[in-house]
């Protein structure tokens, strides 16, 4: 009974009708260049709004249009339809060319996350230069994740929301070919047989990427 009290003052005014909620979300998302999280949306909308529901209808409304409503992690944003990219060369930002090492490292982090530096090196068979990791952190495509609970407690890397946003992914689960790779056992972390060169240490018993994608 008492819990209602706090909400009462606002709920004197009923939540706006569904169509109005849609308009509001449309306006907020349109105005922002970055994805807006669901919780932020709800903070900005009047009390009592159900942003999640309005988002569903809004998303459907923009299907097939020149601008689409996309989901990025827990956030939402309007983006131009990918097939119209050719009209936009004026807006194209010349991005720094990534080295092959950087691209591969990025892919390994994305597909194997959370992943330690030693594991990245094990997969690529060469040392990962600090510049490479630096560059990916600077681009805000990868960040530090939880420490691995193994000897040395190595730090791990995971991909960010900005990464998802940049590559138009709703979540890391939607990475291309992820299912097939996992089915083929290529995302397992197999223990290195003793006596094998290369892999330094600390890469046993990794909890593994799977926990992120499983459920």
């Amino acid at each position: 009974m008492t819990e209602h009290a706090s909400g009462d003052s606002q709920s004197l005014f009923a939540a706006p009708p569904q169509a109005e909620q849609e308009r509001m979300i449309e306006a907020v998302l349109f105005a922002s260049a970055d994805p807006v999280t669901l919780s932020e949306l709800e903070q900005r909308l009047p009390h009592g709004c159900d942003a999640a529901e309005a988002l569903v209808t809004l998303r459907r409304r923009y299907e097939g249009r020149g601008v689409n409503l996309v989901k990025v992690g827990d956030a939402y944003a309007f983006r131009t339809a990918p097939d119209l990219g050719h009209l936009m060369h004026k807006e194209t930002v010349e991005t720094r060319k990534l080295s092959r090492a950087a691209i591969e490292t990025l892919a390994i982090v994305a597909y194997h996350q959370p992943v330690t530096r030693a594991e990245i090196e094990e997969i690529r068979g060469v040392a990962v230069s600090r510049g490479t990791v630096d560059q990916l952190i600077e681009l805000e495509w990868i960040r530090f994740g939880r420490r691995r609970m193994t000897p040395g407690r190595p730090v791990t890397f995971v991909v960010t929301e900005q990464f998802l946003d940049h590559f138009g992914l709703e979540s890391a689960r939607d990475l291309p070919g992820l299912k097939e790779l996992r089915a083929a056992g290529l995302l397992d972390s197999r223990p290195v047989p003793l006596g094998l060169s290369g892999g330094d240490e600390e890469d046993e018993a990794s909890a593994g990427q799977s926990e992120l994608f499983e459920d």
Partner: protein
Amino acid sequence: MADDWQEAKSTEAESVAARLAAEALIIDVDGFEGPLDLLLTLSRTQKVDLRKISVRELAEQYLIFVNKASALRIELAADYLVMAAWLAYLKSRLLLPPDPTEDGPSAEDLAAHLAFQLERLAAMREAAARLMARDQKGRDFFARGLPEDVTRKRKITYGATLMDLMQAYARIRTRDDFRPFVMDRDHVYTMEQALDRLRGLIGYAGQWTDLTSWLPQGWESNPMRRRSATAAHFAAVLELTKAGQVELRQGDVFAPLMVRQREGGR
């Protein structure tokens, strides 16, 4: 006989082909990102599924490559040589019948793991290519070009990024790293210092004098200081000799260095 000849000819042709392939690879040696990358490229010549690859054959190809590189006097990085040594070992173990008394993984396990590593690397390459081929923001699709700021309600928040935080911490902690470095200089006698000092002293060296007797006070006993001062003075004396101001003499290897002012030297 004919069969033998036939066989010899075909293996010769094969080895020629292998050699040519190896040479082509060597030209590209800078293009490889480490031994695993090279192995992956070599494995492509087997034209089989990576799961069916012959690790023995692959080891052979790799060793040919490394030999070729050394014959052409191309310096390979250490990890290529480590891999070569390991593959030679693996190859020999694959040829021998398994030793039941030996602990640890069998040669087949090791070979299987190598094949797995190659397959995984190839898979990640492909995944990376597919990732980069996706529609990308700022290239294929676009965010709002004109984020709106309708009412300018100025609310100041203070922001900092994780980078700022880590850099700040790093800055504080490196301060400590630097102090000992400055202290280290206490034990360093520079050649400039020695030169200055000796210029004032050579006037008194009419006789042959042992260089070590010229070390400054406080620099003779502590071994670290002594070494530094000796080196600095030796270098300074060479400098002065070159300038024709002193003469230098040493009776034997490791014998004391004797110094004397040069007659008529300026």
